[in-house]
């Protein structure tokens, strides 16, 4: 089955702030963007690479999709310059403030609008949201199984043989297509954009789909379609009975050990 087929692969990518370009201001409790630099979520680069590897072996087509503000177009163009065939930006004012439930609604609507799909690839998690919920949630909406934390893919005649890592072990599982995978960084090494790819990325027309194209009500998307709300944020502070030990290193060490003894700890 897998052999004969040209795979239709969808890769979900998210644009995230470049960790190197943000600084946290403790006084104001806000994130200061030193520059507007944004990158593709690192895990998603591995999802893309997994798509490229499978396309090389089996033939097929890769479509990248991303829900985000208009700037997310840059992330899609980068994916095309690395080798993706098609891209769609999912962008609409109404999408802002989406939690994972609302995000999967938009992603699922977009995937269902594509001519068809055999495989959906996601990163294990995003470094900004850090939920790891979008992949499995999306699979649920698409009514297909999901396998998370994949770090090895083997192809068999009828199915994929996947190794997935857990915090305390690993499983090898066999699954037929269609399926959604979320991938670990150890799966592969992402490629760099090629010159040819960059040229193609420049000229490729990338459609933008909003509520109207996706047949969604604005109220189902973004903040309005999200059951969860952030009601409070606070700067983390820890109270401690602070004592700075003084003297020479030896004196400090001795003072420490005395105190630990008093706590019954040394």
């Amino acid at each position: 089955m897998i052999e004969a087929k040209r795979l239709q692969i969808v890769v979900c990518i998210k644009q995230v702030p470049d960790a190197k370009s943000v600084r946290f201001d403790k006084e104001t409790g806000t994130l200061v963007r030193e520059s507007a630099a944004a990158v593709i979520n690192p895990y998603d680069l591995h999802a893309l690479e997994a798509g490229f590897g499978l396309r090389e072996k089996l033939g097929g087509e890769i479509t990248v999709i991303s829900m985000g503000p208009p700037q997310a177009m840059d992330a899609l163009r980068e994916a095309v310059s690395m080798g993706a065939d098609n891209a769609v930006l999912l962008s609409d004012r109404a999408f802002a403030g989406a939690d994972t439930l609302a995000t999967t609604r938009v992603l699922a609507a977009a995937i269902n609008r594509l001519p068809g799909f055999d495989l959906v690839l996601c990163g294990k998690l995003t470094v900004d949201g850090d939920t790891a919920q979008v992949g499995p949630g999306l699979a649920c909406r698409l009514n297909i199984p999901s396998i998370t934390c994949v770090n090895h893919i083997d192809l068999e005649k009828e199915a994929m043989l996947l190794t997935r890592t857990y915090d305390d072990g690993q499983d090898v599982v066999k699954v037929k297509l269609p399926v959604l995978l979320t991938v670990n960084k150890s799966l592969n090494t992402p490629r760099l954009p090629s010159f040819k790819g960059k040229m193609r990325a420049k000229s490729l027309q990338i459609p933008v789909w909003g509520c109207a194209e996706l047949g969604l009500e604005p109220a189902e998307t973004g903040l309005a379609g999200s059951p969860t709300r952030v009601i409070k944020t606070e700067v983390v502070s820890f109270e401690a009975k602070k004592e700075m030990l003084t003297g020479t290193v030896q004196e400090q060490v001795n003072a420490l050990l005395e105190r630990l003894k008093a706590h019954g700890m040394a």
């Binding site: 960790a19 946290f24 403790k26 939690d99 994972t100 439930l101 470094v127 850090d130 939920t131 790891a132 919920q133 499995p136 949630g137 699979a139 649920c140 199984p145 999901s146 396998i147 998370t148 934390c149 043989l161 890592t165 857990y166 915090d167 305390d168 072990g169 690993q170 499983d171 090898v172 599982v173 066999k174 699954v175 399926v179 999200s226 059951p227 969860t228 709300r229 952030v230 009601i231 944020t233 606070e234 700067v235 983390v236 820890f238 401690a240 009975k241 602070k242 004592e243 700075m244 030990l245 290193v249 030896q250 060490v253 001795n254 420490l256 050990l257 630990l260 706590h263 700890m265 040394a266």
Partner: protein, 333 residues
């Protein structure tokens, strides 16, 4: 009329017919919340040959245990676990569902939440309940751990959250506690799946769990400098009966095993004593140590943030502190 949702559910992950520690943490917390809310705590245990676990779940706070015991459940299967929990939640309508933010929990709980069209908060590190309306207050790190966000899902039921292992306090088990055990017949429909488990191995590497439960922890930060210092720090740890832990740069570089990483993306620890050697005290790291009783920091930079939260601070060079400590601990000082 729609029936009201009641009860706090905990999905109890099992390992070789034992409950995982995060399951005990969640049951303890759920029963504290249930008391506040005036409702019941229910444990959900799926597995093969797990009947004995019901008693343990009750001792940690479950008032009711739903057991689904079937040979097909001996290893984790995303499809099957999703189907069972979703169906039971539809049938019994809990007010809250909690699960550990472990790789298995994170693999299927989002599917359950999506099926139920309800909100889910990932990787919480604190929970509370608003008594008047039963809204679950879910605290989790945001913005790379620099902020704590409180998240609610006020309009939809059940309210769902995954909670990081090692942050909630486990209660003393009460072996005399009584609870109701409900054996749920395994519905054949639940077992339909396209996922076939070929092999399943769980590492006996208890490195991480030792760390999570250690009484004392010596943490290695990037300031440790050399391999020689690392060996000395290990010796100090041995003399203090402490486990070794590390910050992310140390495990990223492969100097120590990934399982030893402490913090937001590693293990949360609750030792009586934590000593950090060359640890700066970045927020994602200290989130994992905030429950330590005594925090000791050794850092040559007096402005290092770790000093703001340490019980005892030594502004000193690890190159000098380590030999001095070894000497003193060996009684040669």
């Amino acid at each position: 009329m729609t029936q009201k949702n009641t009860g706090i559910w905990v999905w109890c992950e099992t390992h070789e017919n034992a409950m995982t520690s995060v399951s005990r943490e969640l049951l303890s917390e759920a029963s504290r919340l249930a008391l506040k809310r005036g409702t019941v705590t229910c444990a959900l245990i799926f597995g093969s040959d797990i009947a004995l676990l019901a008693k343990e779940a009750v001792s940690f706070g479950a008032d009711r245990v739903y057991l689904v015991d079937h040979p097909a459940l001996s290893s984790f299967n995303d499809d099957i676990f999703t189907a069972i929990l979703t169906d039971l939640a539809r049938q019994y309508r809990p007010e809250i569902i909690l699960a550990g933010a472990t790789d298995r929990g994170l693999a299927f709980i989002p599917r359950v939440a999506t099926s139920l069209e309800t909100g889910l908060t990932a990787n919480c590190i604190g929970l509370d309940i608003r008594e008047e309306d039963g809204v679950l207050l879910q605290t989790r790190p945001a913005w790379e751990g620099n902020l704590m966000a409180t998240i609610v899902c006020a309009e939809q039921k059940p309210q769902m959250a995954t909670v990081r292992p090692g942050v909630l306090k486990v209660s003393e088990p009460d072996h005399l506690r009584q609870g109701e055990v409900i054996s749920v017949e395994c519905n054949q429909e639940w077992l339909t799946t396209n996922i076939e488990i070929i092999s399943s191995s769980r590492s006996i590497n208890t490195g991480s769990s030792n760390l999570a439960e250690a009484e004392a922890v010596v943490c290695i930060g990037r300031g440790i400098g050399s391999g020689k210092n690392l060996e000395m720090a290990k010796e100090v740890a041995a003399l203090l009966h402490a486990e070794i832990g590390a910050t992310r740069p140390i495990t990223d570089e492969g100097l120590l095993d990934k399982a030893l990483q402490i913090g937001q993306t590693g293990v949360n620890i609750t030792p009586r004593l934590y000593i950090g050697f060359g640890v700066s005290g970045a927020m994602p790291h200290v989130i994992g140590i905030k429950n330590a009783e005594v925090i000791v920091a050794v850092n040559k930079d007096p402005k290092a943030p770790i000093f703001e939260m340490s019980t005892y601070g030594l502004v000193a060079d690890v190159n000098e502190v380590l030999p001095a400590m070894l000497k003193a601990l060996k009684g040669e000082g």
